[in-house]
């Protein structure tokens, strides 16, 4: 039996390749994700070891508000006294006060230079540190800096030239005194842009406090262990300080990056899962067609005494063989893709991250084989059962198997679709990811089961549009010939398109909702904001600028806020210190629920009803608020405002609270223009006030909304790219179905050619069949996707999704893409069909 199976597999190479390819792509995605993340993980570990190689012990102030960001140097500062104390610790060798903060260099085009995730740092120059001068000299004067070689390359700066930087203060210009690199001839450690100032300048611009340090780095004297020194420093300074060994710091940083990478890995694996799910459809279909085509052969085996179990065995064994081969090929391809992506990441994305060699973790190998074989066998089970039920007498009958009734799949499909819908509804309402995922899975299978029933009317309508000629009519009839086969092929395409459409509907609804709120409720005409403003964001401006804005003619009212992460009763919140609460109320159209809108007195705060409920407070309650700097303070709740879609989940503090914020500078300002004055005229007067800060933009309301929405477009693009694989696999499915159909209908094609059908007409016939299947799949996907999206938007109504937006243009383009996919998928089968030898085809068995 094994020999017969292997011979059968090898004798049908095309079939092997096509059904195997779907698995290969899925396995490639899975193992590629593991290889990529493992390689990056090890490379980052090595990077952090390098960074902390000359640090034995480092001292920092314990952050008051927990932060995800290790570079938040402004968590608190150390003083010269602290430095002196550490220097006096027994066994301390070289002790250096660090000054590290954010410094964003401005490029030649006047815009701030960006990195892909790595920080843009400012430091104080230290002789004898890791930085090694390559050209020029160290900065000596206050208007001199040294820059990292990577910054010099990125911005095109050389020694003696001018460089402008934004720090806590707006744009300031310096002379490049020197360019430095790092040990191992590196331009940067991990793609970061570093500028080194003189100590005093660094303290003023980066920390905002003369004489302050962000941390203290200690090297142990010879013979003193890191741990021992750490304990001594800790004892000397007390518990308010965080003292860590270099090893610990390196591990902490690596762990944090590792967490991000493993999340990244999960996302990739999720998309790989979708691709494999689609692959199951393809394999299921392929095996079904093969079993149908081999009915007589299998029945003959039965007639000769093969048992039902042996019949199942042959089909499953064939699946195992294909799965095994596909896993090996997929693993190989996955290692290649993982290595390629890691290289792209290290050279393009992450600047100069050094790869520590491509590694193939055991998880990649195990998952490749597990996924490849399990998926293939799983997909082959149903066709195997069908093969086992073929009666021996079928060997003697003509092959034509009657259409089986669709009652059972329809009932099962309805039940599964309903169950899946229920799971999804619960999942969206409760934000339960597992419910959403299982709901998607169940409802996709349910819809797939319903597809043969839907296919009859829908396919005939699509087909009519394409069948203006005889070949077209034949193609349409062929696509309706085997509803199950057409349905599964189309369902595979449905999955990818449904997910893309669902996401599009949600994102379009988000945009529509934002726009609606902005246009309907918000009266601010101009919005001043930074590229990355928000809690922990860098782009801020001096409060004085807001006063200048307020004095401009044509400005009716204006206000602004400082923002920071804060803790309210120990819970992390987004805090804003607002300059003028009544103006905010007026511009944002807020309404009070408890209390009244007025300027907040010192020691009082305002919050929305949801936040109040979450914190369990009401008007008059007192809460403890911890800001980045200073001690925790008690605030009384003066006002609870009604839930709205403009100011969501923000704790409103009086302006004075900003003194204890990480950066005592405004992050946003809002301007309402006087009646009868053109917004553009006022915008022209406001813009010059921020001309020295390219990070800050002044936008009118609709431009601001557009910018917010464009971030969603990036999300959509990423998802589209990742789902493209699922669609690619579905295309393989269409090719597969067509190729097998062409083989099955060889004699028919021979007949058509014999009675005068041209090659081009044969190709057109196959193409129409292909396009009908693809467009049907796309329509299903659009329908299911819209239902998913609408359901999600409805369920998220309380989260600000007030309006439903249907992305008609995008959906139209998906339909168009599906038609193109149909044409492309038909190319090879059509050529094969057109090249058939007429005489051989007619006598084909």
């Amino acid at each position: 039996m094994l020999k017969a199976t292997l011979k059968s597999v090898l004798s049908r190479k095309l079939r092997l390749v096509l059904s195997g390819l779907a698995v290969v792509l899925g396995v490639m995605f899975v193992s590629g994700s593991f290889v990529l993340t493992d390689t990056l993980d090890r490379s980052f570990k090595s990077l952090f070891t390098t960074i902390y190689s000359d640090v034995d012990v480092q001292v920092a102030v314990k952050p008051k508000v927990g932060s995800d960001d290790p570079d938040q140097a402004l968590a608190g500062t150390l003083t010269g006294d602290d430095l002196a104390k550490v220097k006096s610790v027994e066994g301390a060798g070289r002790v250096v006060g660090d000054v590290v903060g954010s410094a964003r260099p401005i490029g030649e085009n006047g815009k701030v230079l960006t990195t892909s995730g790595a920080p843009r740092l400012g430091t104080a120059w230290r002789d004898g540190g890791q930085e090694q001068l390559r050209e020029g000299r160290a900065p000596v004067r206050d208007d001199e800096v040294a820059i990292s070689a990577y910054l010099a390359k990125t911005g095109g700066f050389s020694v003696g030239e001018q460089i402008s930087l934004i720090t806590l203060e707006p744009k300031k210009t310096f002379t490049v005194a020197g360019i430095f690199g790092y040990p191992g001839n590196r331009d940067s450690l991990g793609g970061e842009l570093t500028t080194a100032f003189t100590e005093a300048t660094a303290q003023r611009l980066l920390l905002g406090q003369p004489g302050a340090y962000s941390g203290i780095t200690v090297q142990a004297a010879p013979g003193v262990a890191e741990d021992v020194l750490r304990q001594r420093v800790q004892d000397k300074l007390g518990d308010a300080y965080q003292v860590k060994t270099g090893e610990q710091l390196s591990k902490d940083s690596a762990d944090q990056v590792g967490e991000g990478l493993s999340f990244f890995n999960y996302v990739l694996l999720g998309f790989a899962g979708i691709a494999l799910f689609v692959g199951v459809f393809i394999i299921l279909n392929t095996f079904s067609i093969i079993v149908a085509q081999r009915t007589r052969e299998l029945a003959l085996l039965r007639a000769m005494g093969a048992s039902q179990r042996q019949m199942i065995g042959t089909v499953v064994l064939e699946a195992v063989v294909i799965g095994l081969i596909a896993s090996v090929v997929g693993l190989g391809a996955g290692i290649g893709v993982g290595a390629l992506l890691a290289n792209i990441f290290s050279t393009v994305g992450g600047g100069s991250l050094r790869l520590e060699g491509i590694s193939v973790p055991l998880s990649a190998v195990i998952s490749a084989f597990a996924v490849g074989i399990v998926v293939t066998v799983l997909a082959a089970v149903l066709p195997a059962l069908r093969a086992s039920r073929i009666p021996p007498v079928a060997a003697m009958r003509e092959a034509a198997t009657p259409d089986r009734p669709l009652t059972r799949p329809t009932i099962a499909g309805t039940a599964l679709t309903a169950a899946g819908g229920g799971l999804l509804w619960y999942g969206f309402a409760e934000g339960a990811l597992w419910f959403i995922m299982s709901g998607l899975l169940v409802s996709f299978i349910g819809v797939a089961l319903l597809t043969p029933l839907i296919s009859r009317p829908v396919v005939s309508v699509i087909g009519k549009l394409l069948s203006w000629s005889m070949p077209g009519t034949l193609g349409r009839r062929n696509s309706a010939r085997n509803p199950r086969r057409t349905a599964i092929t189309a369902a595979a395409l449905m999955v990818g398109i449904a997910l893309i459409t669902g996401v599009s509907v949600v994102l379009t609804s988000a945009t529509t909702s934002i726009t609606k709120v902005a246009e309907g409720q918000v009266k601010s005409d101009l919005i001043v904001s930074g590229e990355a403003s928000g809690p922990g964001g860098d782009a801020t401006f001096q409060p004085g600028r807001l006063d200048e804005v307020a004095r401009l003619s044509g400005v009716d009212s204006s206000f602004g806020w400082y923002s920071d992460r804060i803790l309210v009763d120990g819970k992390p919140q987004f805090g804003i210190a607002v300059t003028d609460v009544p103006v905010m109320q007026k511009q944002f159209g807020l309404s009070a629920k408890e209390g009244a809108f007025a300027e907040l007195a010192d020691g009082t705060l305002a919050l929305d009803e949801d936040s109040a409920a979450a914190l369990g407070v009401k008007q008059g309650s007192t809460v403890s608020v911890q800001t980045t700097k200073g001690e925790a303070r008690t605030y009384a709740v003066a006002l609870v405002y009604a839930k709205n879609n403009v100011l969501v989940n923000a704790i409103v503090l009086p302006e004075g609270a900003a003194k204890q914020f990480r950066v005592e500078q405004l992050s946003n300002a809002f301007v309402q223009v006087s009646p009868g004055v053109a917004v553009q005229d006022v915008q022209k007067r406001v813009e010059p006030l921020f001309a020295d800060n390219p990070e800050i933009t002044v936008q009118d309301r609709s431009a601001f909304v557009k910018q917010q929405a464009s971030q969603l477009d990036t999300v959509l693009l990423m998802i589209q790219i990742l789902l493209a694989l699922a669609i690619l696999i579905a295309v393989l499915g269409v090719i597969n179905t067509l190729a097998l159909s062409v083989i099955e209908r060889t004699r028919e094609l021979g007949l058509l050619r014999a009675i005068g059908m041209r090659r081009a007409q044969v190709m057109r016939m196959i193409t129409v069949e292909s396009v009908v299947i693809s467009v049907f799949g796309a329509l299903l996907g659009l329908g299911v996707g819209t239902a998913l999206g609408v359901g999600a938007v409805r369920a998220l109504k309380d989260e600000g999704f007030t309006d439903l937006g249907i992305p008609w243009a995008q959906m139209g383009s998906y339909l168009l893409i599906a038609a193109v996919i149909g044409v492309v998928a038909a190319i090879l089968p059509a050529i094969r069909a057109a090249r058939l030898n007429v005489l051989q085809a007619i006598s084909y068995e």
Binding site: M470, R747, L751, A754, I755, L839
Partner: protein, 251 residues
């Protein structure tokens, strides 16, 4: 420059062999034959005599090594795929032994398939005449699976005739039918030659089927060895026996 107009199909010294070198088998060894317009000709011969090859070469389904093949005044050899397709579309009708119809089309659609493929209009009067002659009027909207074998073959006959081709080639058209259905099909082919002046060339190994033809040519080892006009079944059977005898003598 052109073929004789009185012959619907003509082979002139046609040679055809399969395989190369030692393994080469001569299928046709210098066959010359005229098929007069409006006559029903049967080609007979034992298995391997080359009768099917001759028909395939005449119809442009197979290529020849040397000689000339004409359909009407079109020279078949030398045509490329497009020319051959056009030839089959307009000048040739086919009836095969089995699998003659497309399962997705109704009887009527199957009959009108050649003009539909060629983008030509169907001559409705001629269509009606043909359909009534084969007796399929009440079966036009049926699918092939709903028709008996004999009915399917009559649909195929109607399809072959509907474009009024120069020649209808029938390859063992009764091979899969019971004797009654076979007689119906043969009777129809005979009538189409006599009443409509349709040239018909039929390959068969059944003497009874051959007796419907106006003329029978006998092939053996790739050569035409005998010819009978207005044959009876007995005469054909007798000739076949002699052929077998000749073969025995030769071998």
């Amino acid at each position: 420059m052109t073929g004789k107009t009185e012959s619907a199909a003509r082979a002139v010294d046609v040679w055809k062999s399969y395989g190369t070198g030692e393994a080469a088998v001569t299928a046709l060894g210098g066959v010359s034959v005229d098929f007069e317009r409006g006559r029903f000709t049967a080609i007979m011969g034992p298995s391997g005599s080359g009768k099917s090859t001759l028909m395939h070469c005449l119809a442009g389904l197979d290529t020849i090594d040397s000689g000339d093949v004409w359909i009407g005044d079109t020279k078949v050899n030398g045509l490329r795929d497009k020319g051959l397709t056009d030839l089959r579309r307009t000048k040739v009708g086919f009836i095969f032994q089995q699998f003659n119809l497309l399962p997705t089309l109704t009887a009527e659609e199957n009959i009108t398939l050649p003009p539909a493929i060629g983008g030509r209009k169907v001559d409705r009067a001629w269509f009606d005449t043909v359909v009534d002659t084969v007796g399929l009027r009440d079966r036009l909207s049926h699918r092939p699976t709903q028709l008996s074998g004999g009915q399917q073959q009559r649909v195929a006959c109607a399809r072959a005739l509907v474009s009024r081709p120069e020649v209808v080639f029938a390859d063992e058209p009764t091979g899969n039918l019971d004797s009654r259905s076979g007689a119906e099909v043969l009777g129809f082919l005979q009538r189409s030659a006599r009443e409509f002046g349709q040239t018909v060339v039929m390959v068969t190994h059944d003497p009874n089927a051959a007796s419907y033809a106006d003329r029978v040519i006998f092939l053996a080892d790739g050569r035409i060895v005998r010819e009978l006009h207005q044959p009876t079944a007995d005469a054909v059977l007798e000739t076949m026996k002699h052929l077998d005898g000749d073969e025995l003598v030769v071998v």
